[in-house]
């Protein structure tokens, strides 16, 4: 029984890989940059003395997803937990001006996630168990002018996970939607957030526990559920005038 982490070079994903390896599970870490994924795997092995393999995962190579999953299963056995931690925030202004850029953001954050999730869903349904953890975003809770291309792709991913959860419930497969607020990662580095920023290590600990507790929708830090609740409650007539 193994854990697959996609987009493993993110700080949260690396930290999560350590948690699962410490817990005695075999881990496969994958990222677009195979060399970096190998460094992450080495670190997990040295620190935890656990099993960790690595490989290249190109999110937008949809045709390659089936073969990729075969490779993973070949290396570390059937996948018990899959974490989708890859994403591409893109640049809102560039995405507005250049559809190719927008297309890339949508493909990485949504299309690719659907493609790999369906394969994982089939794999786990066959074995009547497993857990799919999708890292969506609070940006997907309401469209805002500052990041709606990324936000809409993540929002669509959230909606997709909702449906998948509904479908796989009877098969005994757990699907968790994760919505993260500000975390101290390369994405937020140097930003003046005005709101406390969580460390990637704290987030990974919380995610690990939430996955094991089979939560459905998991906001972290938890107060973000409240913040987004308020933001979602603002009437559209007023919201459209705001700069958020």
């Amino acid at each position: 029984m193994s854990v697959l982490i996609l987009g493993a070079t993110s700080r949260i994903a690396q930290s999560l890989a350590h948690r699962y390896a410490e817990n005695g599970q075999s881990v496969f870490v994958a990222a677009r940059d195979a060399e970096e994924a190998a460094a992450v795997a080495a670190d997990v092995r040295v620190r935890t003395q656990g099993v960790c393999a690595s490989g290249r995962f190109d999110a937008t190579d949809f045709d390659g997803h089936a073969a990729f999953l075969e490779t993973v299963i070949g290396a570390v056995g059937p996948v018990e937990v899959a974490v989708l931690a890859f994403g591409d925030m893109g640049d809102q202004k560039t995405s507005e001006a250049d559809f190719e850029a927008a297309h890339q953001v949508i493909d990485v954050n949504y299309t690719a996630a659907v493609s790999i999730c369906e394969r994982l869903a089939a794999h786990m349904s066959d074995r009547a168990g497993g857990s799919i953890v999708g890292i969506a975003s609070v940006a997907g809770d309401r469209g805002r002018q500052s990041n709606y291309i990324y936000g809409s792709a993540k929002g669509a991913f959230g909606l997709y996970l909702q449906g998948l959860r509904n479908r796989l419930f009877k098969a005994g497969v757990h699907v968790m939607t994760v919505k993260l607020g500000f975390v101290d990662t390369r994405m937020t580095f140097g930003l003046e957030t005005g709101i406390p920023v969580a460390s990637p290590e704290t987030v990974s600990r919380a995610l690990f526990e939430a996955q094991r507790a089979r939560e459905d929708v998991f906001y972290y830090p938890r107060f973000w559920r409240g913040i987004m609740g308020v933001i979602k409650a603002i009437p559209e007539a007023a919201f459209k005038r705001l700069t958020l």
């Binding site: 070079t9 700080r11 140097g190």
Partner: protein
């Protein structure tokens, strides 16, 4: 990622003086380090680890600072030989956490575990075992360095030895350290068999030090307040890793730290007056008296033995907003210990007490260049920043140290005058030659480097007079 995210940030060393704003980046992958170097916008560059240099060694005004904390992957470990390959931002704390349970220990540790291996190489750090095991770099066989022209160069004792020589203790001015191979030492027990001995004066310190050769680790706290016959009295500590099977108990501080870490944090600055002449004198008296006369044997965990202050987070705030500095020097061995006596006399008579002072005799091993450790007694003294009288005192100490053929540790410095520095480090011209050959455009600079003429435009030639 083609460009780096730079953000303005004010950084300072452990002494919290000086404080300097820079543009900083925090790469998480090797490629991002190269990207940051390429994207420096024509400005000089410097690495910053955990900020435990006391002064201005890791600071850079009008420059680009690369935070190395997230370059922290351990890449390979050989349990047969103890060789660990890891990235520059890995801390000794993480190495201890990972490897003590497996029976390994960093070859050399300073007085805190919160330093990175990159910083340990750049400062060629020493520890309580210098007389036996040398400095950190005696246990390094390979360093991967991103040099000024953007290439990654591997150096070590057998490969690009000159670059290795200049990088060891080179204060980060030869390039950005990406990774290294360090050989961990085998231990049988995380506990230390230790003896502490009350020494009544300086002579007795040297007597005890001379007969402590069988102990791998030695250091002594020294009272730098009391005058007269008891000048230089202190508590000498010596120890070695305990054999397998010996059991000890965690210290009180460790127990409190584990249960209620908030109790052991300096959450705010203490007022500047907290550490004054009277309180320092009282502390020294109590600290000396609490130890019974003669020798006490005990078994202690490695943390209180090596890192007595690490349990109190942010203890540097004890000195208040003014900040503090550490004056650390070594002088060549001298049977009469004239220089050490002169320094201690100068301090005790100045009325500027050092709250915390330690003394240790270094062993024979040295690297030369601008690396610090060399044979002879070493003293480290902490002083709250007390303005001109302190700077004047330190200038007088510089004179004593220089005349004795000794030198100041750059990792702690924030005020040494350039001419004094040049006289203390006779191999400086050769070091600069090697450094400049690898970095002719002076890409790598620091406030310390500018002040002392190591790299970059000269910023300051005279002694530093007071707070900016």
């Amino acid at each position: 990622m083609s460009t780096s995210r730079w953000a303005p940030q004010t950084l300072w060393g452990w002494g919290r003086y000086p404080r300097v704003e820079s543009q900083v980046a925090r790469p998480e992958r090797r490629k991002e380090v190269a990207a940051a170097l390429a994207d420096r916008q024509g400005e000089p560059v410097l690495a910053f680890g955990l900020g435990r240099c006391y002064g201005d060694a890791a600071l850079l005004r009008n420059g680009r600072v690369v935070l190395t904390r997230r370059l922290d992957r351990m890449l390979d470990f050989d349990p047969e030989s103890g060789w660990l390959r890891c990235e520059a931002g890995v801390s000794l704390e993480e190495i201890l956490h990972t490897f003590v349970p497996r029976g390994f220990f960093p070859p050399v540790v300073p007085g805190t575990q919160f330093v990175t291996v990159g910083g340990a190489i750049a400062c060629d750090i020493h520890g309580k075992n210098h007389h036996v095991d040398g400095s950190f770099c005696d246990h390094i066989r390979r360093v991967e360095l991103l040099v000024a022209d953007g290439r990654v160069v591997t150096c070590g004792p057998d490969e690009e030895p000159e670059l290795f020589w200049a990088t060891v203790g080179g204060m980060g001015l030869t390039g950005l350290i990406l990774s290294c191979e360090v050989q961990l030492a085998r231990i049988d027990n995380p506990y230390i068999e230790m003896e502490s001995i009350r020494v009544e004066n300086l002579d007795q310190f040297f007597e005890v030090s001379a007969e402590s050769g069988a102990f791998t680790h030695t250091v002594s706290w020294i009272d730098c307040v009391t005058t007269g016959k008891a000048t230089g009295r202190g508590i000498f500590m010596r120890g070695r890793h305990a054999p397998a099977g010996v059991e000890g108990k965690p210290s009180l501080l460790q127990r409190v730290g584990a249960r209620a870490p908030a109790l052991l944090d300096f959450p705010i600055d203490a007022p500047d007056w907290l550490l004054n002449q009277a309180s320092i004198k009282a502390f020294n008296e109590v600290y000396f008296r609490q130890h019974p006369k003669g020798k006490v044997e005990s078994v202690v965990h490695y943390e209180p033995f090596f890192f007595p202050l690490d349990n109190v987070r942010n203890w540097n705030r004890m000195y208040g907003p003014r900040g503090f500095l550490q004056y650390q020097f070594v002088v060549p061995p001298d049977p009469e210990h004239k220089a050490v006596r002169a320094v201690v006399d100068e301090i005790t008579h100045s009325g500027l007490g050092s709250f915390l002072a330690v003394i240790k005799e270094f062993g024979e091993r040295q690297h030369g260049g601008i690396s610090f450790p060399s044979p002879g007694p070493m003293i480290a003294l902490d002083f709250g920043l007390a303005g001109q009288p302190l700077f004047d005192l330190l200038l007088r100490l510089d004179r004593i140290v220089l005349d004795a053929g000794g030198k100041i540790y750059l990792g702690k410095d924030s005020r040494l005058p350039r001419e004094t520095f040049e006289a203390m480090y006779p191999e400086l011209p050769r070091w600069k030659q090697v450094r400049d050959a690898w970095d002719p455009g002076h890409v790598f600079q620091s406030e310390l480097g500018r002040r002392l003429g190591l790299s970059g435009p000269s910023s300051h030639t005279g002694p530093r007079g007071g707070q900016p």
